[in-house]
């Protein structure tokens, strides 16, 4: 028969295990609210906006630009590639809706504030291909630009800053975490929204990000 003290010790050990284990699980899942990397990423960004490296982009008309030219303006960014048959069309449909809503809202003033930038991560996407893709979605190349990153290293650091993970699907395509990224007026990544976020949701995120 086990000594009585052993049961006390066991109770103490069990309690300690529950407390420590529970605390670690709580910490590792942001209080059981982030069970996936994507949820954790969105929560972390909303809590503390992330600086985005300034990299040289080339748009569908071959014009070079950087994201910091939009400082002081709300910018919404997504990552797509033209060969994508599943999630990117949904992202681009959402952006078309955003673009249209913004255009009709600012028709009178003529000054469109919200800027949309779709960045490709596929090295096969040339400006010509981007132009074709853009025209399919009625992007005018001003309020909504499609762009590629000029340097491979820049693309990697940009994807890292945005928290985008690409994995090859083995057929020349990619699976990637898709989302709508809202930059604040200082050019930092401030909010991440679901694919297909409505103009209202984006407007609220913009206001929340740059009050």
């Amino acid at each position: 028969m086990a000594p009585k003290g052993d049961w006390v010790r066991t109770a103490v050990a069990s309690l300690a295990i529950c407390v420590a284990g529970g605390a670690l699980l709580w910490h590792g899942t942001d209080g059981f609210r982030a069970l996936t990397t994507e949820t954790a990423r969105r929560r972390a960004i909303a809590a503390a906006p992330t600086p985005i490296p300034v990299v040289q982009l080339e748009d569908q008309d071959g014009r070079l630009f950087t994201l910091d030219r939009y400082l002081g303006q709300p910018v919404v960014v997504d990552f797509v590639y033209t060969g994508c048959g599943t999630i990117c069309p949904l992202l681009s449909d959402g952006f078309r809706r955003l673009d249209r809503a913004e255009r009709s809202a600012t028709r009178d003033s003529g000054e469109q504030r919200l800027q949309l930038v779709s960045i490709t991560f596929d090295s096969l996407d040339t400006p010509a291909r981007l132009r074709e893709y853009a025209s399919h979605y009625a992007a005018d190349g001003r309020s909504w630009r499609f762009a590629r990153v000029r340097e491979r290293n820049d693309l990697d650091s940009l994807l890292r800053a945005f928290g985008i993970v690409l994995i090859s699907d083995g057929r020349g395509g990619f699976q990637h975490n898709a989302a709508v990224h809202v930059l604040d007026d200082r050019g930092r990544l401030a909010r991440v929204l679901d694919v297909g976020a409505s103009p209202d949701e984006v407007a609220r995120a913009v206001t929340g990000a740059s009050p």
């Binding site: 899942t29 069970l35 949820t39 599943t86």
Partner: protein, 224 residues
């Protein structure tokens, strides 16, 4: 001492970069081969501990209660999608996986298995196995990609694997105990691998995995 040697050998193989890459490239082998084998290495290692040390540990582990709790809590972490991603993204988390699964899951379970008694084992399995199945189902039914590092079809395969393993293990344990072998399962004569292999799930993770699907969080959309 043969068990200790097998444990060291098993761990050494698992830690080799080639084996790591091969097992971690696919979600189902990451979850259902690498993780259980790491726990198994710990279980085998624990069986080789000197008797004195074992009895000193047992003084804190009457009825196998604290050991089973420890194994359940730690193993539940390694069923969370974020933990799998994290281990692939951060070397420190990967190292934590290789340390915690043998030492905090496999070893405590092996040290607790016999003292749990048939009631305790039945209770443990009745909690753990359905939860595996539920986590597996969550992986199968999730409308979104849960791991950034795994494709959607791999997530489904891993889910199916979890469901199959939980049912197969449940049926096996049920048959064994119905045939009156439950006493022998608990004895030290049974290879500790068995204890280690059946140690990869528990309630908290399972419950929270259900929350994932229920809330529709984990909004990793699927793309190709």
């Amino acid at each position: 001492m043969i068990r200790a040697r097998i444990a060291v050998l098993l761990f050494a193989v698992l830690v080799m970069p080639g084996a790591r890459d091969a097992l971690e490239r696919v979600m189902v082998t990451h979850m259902l081969v690498q993780i259980p084998l790491l726990a198994a290495a710990g279980a085998l290692g624990a069986a080789a501990l000197p008797r004195g040390l074992r009895s000193r540990i047992a003084a804190w582990n009457r009825g196998g209660v604290s050991g089973a709790l420890l194994a359940m809590i730690v193993s539940s972490w390694w069923m969370v999608p974020r933990a799998l991603d994290w281990a692939l993204a951060a070397p420190l988390m990967e190292a934590a996986k290789f340390v915690t699964l043998p030492l905090l899951v496999g070893a405590p379970l092996a040290l607790s298995w016999s003292s749990l008694g048939s009631m305790g084992r039945g209770f443990l399995m009745a909690n753990v196995l359905p939860m595996w199945a539920v986590v597996g189902w969550a992986y199968i039914a999730a409308p979104v990609r849960l791991c950034n590092y795994y494709l959607t079809d791999q997530q489904v395969t891993a889910g199916i694997g979890l469901v199959i393993v939980s049912i197969a293990l449940g049926v096996t344990l049920g048959l064994l105990s119905a045939a009156g072998y439950s006493a022998r399962i608990g004895s030290d004569s049974i290879p500790a691998v068995f204890a280690g292999a059946s140690s990869v799930a528990s309630t908290p993770a399972a419950t929270s995995a259900v929350v994932v699907t229920a809330n529709g969080t984990g909004p990793n959309a699927v793309a190709s």
